[in-house]
């Protein structure tokens, strides 16, 4: 009995901080003798990487291990930069505020759930950072959060502090169909057409411009009374000032082009076109404006506007000089983004390093975090993945994933942890509180935030794309 108590105590510590168990916090790490796919300076055979203080300190051959460093023998193994997913809804307790067509006042930062197991699974698939977006029910959705997947850390450690802020925009069927929201007998939401969607965006920017002017007038002493702080319009002012990146969900090239023209009209650059299955049709127009495109490789046909897709989308965009990334928009697909990158080598023949960039350095550039992550270069954060084979092979698995030099997934430790958890479960199930009794007490609540009703794919049955 006493043993069980001690075990429970240990288990409760586990619950408090997986990082304590898994983390090699800030210890120097030397990865020896790996095939290093840098994503920027080619693939280096038999190469070592020294990680110090969370950063990549040295990349070279026959590096000496500093005293106390953890040495990982990576002979026969591959190292890549951590994968970056430019479109994710993981670890969000709510995804859509579907009531208004403009919900720029909402912030995904408010609803992060650091206990979402999808984080750990993403690490097991080599993903170290993600763009957490609001859903696509609105012309203008909520504010994004760009995070590192620091599993086991408190929530404030997740957002990347120097990542430029972003915001979700959406066009097309999801937005139009969201007009079916609302109480029975109530009014349906405007807009209901594609032209209404672009008008809603233009109207919002005009309001934001007026709003900014009212504050400018107040600051210049032209009006006496302080204007209202408007949480809906402030992020749009930031867009107009080039301080906030738009990540625009859309399928049809005419709609995405319309948004680019709207941005020309107001004088800002669109950050990324999300999904963009028809983006190949307007590749030069996109390239000219420096806008990125974040796509699925070969996932389409789940709704009418997703029919005109081709697997050569990435190749054509790349050929035209567009920054392309491949995203998941899905907890499951997120764990296999390496294979989605491999496919663009097959379709059109994007070179290996360019394909790797599409899940590492390119999304880092799209999110404005490429100074610190996305490639294996001295001085960058040590967001690294060790694979037991070539990352573009279906037979390869992630062995180790680290974020800023902290090992947050390790396949061997995971096996051990699963055994420990099975023992813990056995001990816990014997407690009275966990036995099915005749009566008494309240069932712990089923977390309402995971209701599928929050998710676009459940609402629209459109195959999980948001």
């Amino acid at each position: 009995m006493r043993k069980a108590v001690v075990f429970l105590l240990m288990a409760s510590m586990l619950a408090i901080s997986p990082a304590l168990i898994l983390g090699q916090s800030r210890t120097d790490i030397l990865i020896k003798n790996a095939t290093v796919m840098t994503a920027v300076k080619g693939t280096l055979a038999n190469t070592d990487i020294l990680i110090s203080n969370g950063k990549i300190a040295k990349v070279g051959k026959n590096l000496a291990a500093p005293a106390g460093a953890q040495v990982i023998d990576a002979s026969g193994k591959y190292v890549t930069p951590g994968i970056i997913d430019c479109h994710s809804h993981s670890m969000l307790d709510a995804i859509n505020e579907g009531t208004y067509s403009v919900t720029s006042m909402t912030r995904t930062r408010d609803v992060l759930n650091v206990t979402d197991i999808a984080i750990y699974r993403a690490l097991a698939g080599g993903v170290t950072a993600a763009n957490l977006l609001h859903g696509s029910a609105n012309s203008i959705g909520g504010q994004n959060t760009v995070v590192k997947f620091k599993w086991g850390h408190p929530v404030e450690d997740f957002p990347i502090p120097d990542a430029p802020p972003g915001i979700k925009f959406a066009m097309g069927e999801n937005v139009k169909r969201s007009t079916s929201f609302g109480p029975p007998g109530g009014t349906v939401r405007y807009p209901r057409t594609r032209m209404g969607v672009i008008e809603t965006m233009r109207d919002a920017f005009l309001r934001a411009r007026d709003y900014k002017k009212s504050w400018d007038d107040y600051k210049a002493g032209k009006i006496k009374v302080q204007p209202r702080k408007d949480l809906e319009l402030e992020p749009l002012v930031e867009v107009l000032e080039g301080k906030r990146l738009i990540h625009a969900h859309g399928y049809r090239s005419d709609e995405h082009l319309n948004l680019l023209l709207l941005a020309d009209e107001f004088g800002f650059r669109v950050g990324t076109l999300q999904h963009g299955l028809e983006a190949y049709k307007i590749a030069p127009e996109i390239a000219k404006r420096g806008t990125g495109v974040s796509i699925f490789t070969d996932f389409w046909g789940y709704k009418l506007e997703a029919y005109d897709a081709i697997p050569y989308d990435a190749y054509i965009l790349w050929k035209n000089g567009v920054n392309v990334s491949i995203n998941s928009d899905d907890d499951e697909r997120m764990r296999r983004l390496n294979l989605d990158a491999a496919k663009v080598e097959k379709y059109g023949g994007v070179p290996e390093e360019e394909a790797l960039k599409m899940i590492t350095l390119n999304p880092a550039k799209q999110l404005g975090i490429d100074k610190r992550t996305g490639s294996i270069e001295v001085g960058k954060d040590a967001d690294l993945v060790i694979w037991n084979g070539h990352p573009f092979s279906v037979y390869s698995r992630v062995e180790t994933t680290m974020v800023e030099g902290e090992i947050l997934f390790d396949r061997a430790k995971d096996a051990k942890m699963q055994q420990d958890m099975a023992k813990e479960r056995e001990a816990l199930e014997k407690l009275d509180v966990n036995k099915a009794p005749g009566s008494g007490g309240t069932q712990p609540k089923i977390p309402s935030e995971r209701r599928r009703g929050d998710r676009d794919d459940a609402e629209f049955g459109d195959g999980g794309n948001q």
Partner: protein, 545 residues
């Protein structure tokens, strides 16, 4: 059985005295007195006069005009305080019914607020309280004399009121109102905010708007010339005490991440914040301490209630851990120096409050600290420690006399005084007397539940009507439940002195789920809780004549 006779006689006296009962002077003598504010007196006297505590001490003599109660073998406590509850508040309103053609059959009540129902910080519990609520009897019989109560719904749940659990008029109940602004991270169906995302942005916008309106109203009051008259807004104005730190803001938050979100919000607007619920508060103990945010800590500890169906997934490790860890939370909070007071969170059976407090003691909480967290500690957090929470001369005579261990199964509350008014106590439930010499016990102590009841099952957002029939035989009963989900037979129901319970399998959307039902019957009123794998829902109703 002298004391029993005495109680019976005394009950008659208090009945006879009727509403002027608190004019009576009482002296509880020879009792152990837990003053909470000072050392416990092993044997002494408490004098109650004119609704106040007149004297407390080892050497206090019973006044000549006092009714003397022999407290030998009994312990006197300050009346217990439930720091966060919905007692006395109406049940959640049913959603508006729609007639043919989508027209509303019952229009929502008119309001002069610019904000939808649920986003109105001006709502006050006091305005909806029901005097003489039947729930008062139940919890008062368990030893509670005071509660902080607030509404059940909305994002703003209504400003809470601290009430004494006696009195048929609302004005007679109020000790302090309003006490605090109450916020839950809920949504509003069918309109903004309809998601947790929107809840935060809507709250944030309202707090900013309140800050601004207060500033420009001041500016206008100082010199209106050349300024457009600021519009009055009763909702935003109701937030002024909160943003000025003059009124606490209580956030309902149980999981660690809800608590973190509440703390972030408290920090963002520099609020005088509190957490209610606090199931996982111990995980944030350091930050709660650093930010000086107290916790109104629920004693509704989680435990498994229903047998899982064979197809169900096993409980998650997180859930198993939560149930094991929660009773250790109070001790951990105390060790970290976080202030807390216990609250019932509408525990299924009010006796669980004390039993779970006992589990908190087993889990590492000092016993005196546990008593304090339901008396003086609560009074301090509710801002009424000058009047309540301890046995000191001059304070309100909320006094409870207990036989047996307060946290034990055999605890029996022998006397309750609220505002100096004595409330007759039911006899303790009799145990089966193996010698057969108990005389009179047995069946006489079993409630009577036979009858047909019109029931409302209070499923959030979609209350369901049902008809239940119970046929009681001794301490068991059979019967039926009829609702839109079909007819279900009840077999093997149990009746005790406290109420009834039964288990059944019902067809819910095509699959059978196990439910556990328990409740009480008081006169023609029936109420209780249905537990299912989907969670617990309350029910209530009346007996058909």
């Amino acid at each position: 059985m002298n004391s029993k006779l005495f109680l019976l006689a005394f009950g008659a006296v208090s009945l006879f005295l009727g509403s002027s009962a608190n004019a009576q002077t009482y002296a509880i003598t020879n009792a152990k007195i837990v003053t909470v504010s000072g050392p416990t007196i092993e044997k002494g006297t408490v004098v109650i006069r004119n609704g106040l505590i007149d004297a407390v001490g080892a050497n206090v003599a019973a006044p000549a005009d006092a009714k003397v109660l022999d407290g030998s073998g009994l312990t006197v406590y300050p009346g217990f305080i439930d720091a966060y509850t919905n007692v006395g508040m109406p049940a959640a309103a049913a959603p508006p019914q729609r007639g043919p053609g989508g027209q509303q059959a019952t229009p929502p009540p008119a309001s002069k607020s610019n904000y939808p129902d649920g986003l109105r910080p001006e709502d006050q519990a006091e305005d909806e309280l029901k005097g003489g609520d039947s729930q008062f009897d139940t919890i008062r019989n368990a030893g509670f004399t005071t509660a902080a109560t607030t509404g059940r719904t909305g994002i703003f749940n209504g400003q809470s009121a601290v009430i004494d659990l006696a009195g048929d008029s609302v004005s007679g109940l109020i000790v302090r109102s309003p006490f605090a602004q109450n916020i839950s991270f809920n949504t509003i169906g069918g309109q903004y905010p309809a998601s947790l995302l929107g809840t935060f942005s809507a709250l944030r916008q309202m707090f900013y708007d309140a800050q601004r309106l207060q500033a420009i109203q001041k500016q206008y009051a100082a010199n209106p010339k050349g300024i457009v008259r600021p519009e009055a807004d009763r909702s935003l104005e109701a937030l002024y005490p909160a943003i000025n730190r003059e009124m606490p803001v209580v956030f309902k938050a149980n999981s660690e991440r809800e608590i973190v979100r509440a703390l972030d919000f408290i920090k963002e607007f520099n609020l005088n914040g509190m957490i209610a619920g606090g199931e996982e508060a111990w995980k944030q103990a350091a930050r709660l301490k650093a930010m000086n945010v107290p916790v109104l800590l629920s004693l509704n500890f989680p435990k498994r209630t229903a047998s899982a169906s064979p197809e169900a997934d096993p409980d998650s490790l997180e859930t198993l851990r939560l149930r094991a860890e929660t009773p250790k939370g109070p001790g951990r909070l105390a060790a970290a120096g976080v202030k807390f007071a216990f609250e019932s969170d509408n525990v299924r059976s009010i006796n669980d409050f004390f039993l779970n407090a006992g589990k908190a003691v087993e889990g590492g909480l000092n016993k005196d600290a546990a008593v304090r967290a339901m008396t003086l500690g609560s009074a301090e957090l509710l801002g009424v420690a000058d009047r309540l929470g301890s046995l000191d001369a001059g304070k309100i005579a909320n006094v409870v006399v207990v036989k047996g261990d307060l946290f034990g199964k055999d605890k029996y509350v022998t006397h309750v005084f609220v505002d100096g008014k004595y409330f007759a106590q039911k006899e303790p439930p009799k145990k089966e007397d193996p010698t057969g010499k108990g005389g009179g016990g047995g069946a006489a102590n079993v409630a009577s539940v036979s009858g047909t009841y019109a029931i409302t099952i209070d499923i959030p957002g979609q209350p369901m009507a049902a008809t239940w029939t119970f046929n009681q035989q001794g301490s068991t009963f059979n019967g039926t439940m009829v609702s839109q989900m079909g007819t279900t037979q009840i077999t093997g129901g149990k009746v005790t002195a406290e109420g009834f319970s039964f288990a059944a399998s019902v067809n819910y959307g095509g699959s059978m789920i196990d439910i556990a039902v328990s409740g009480t019957v008081k006169g023609n009123e029936i109420s209780g809780t249905i537990d299912s794998p989907q969670g617990a829902v309350p029910f209530y109703g009346t007996k058909n004549p």
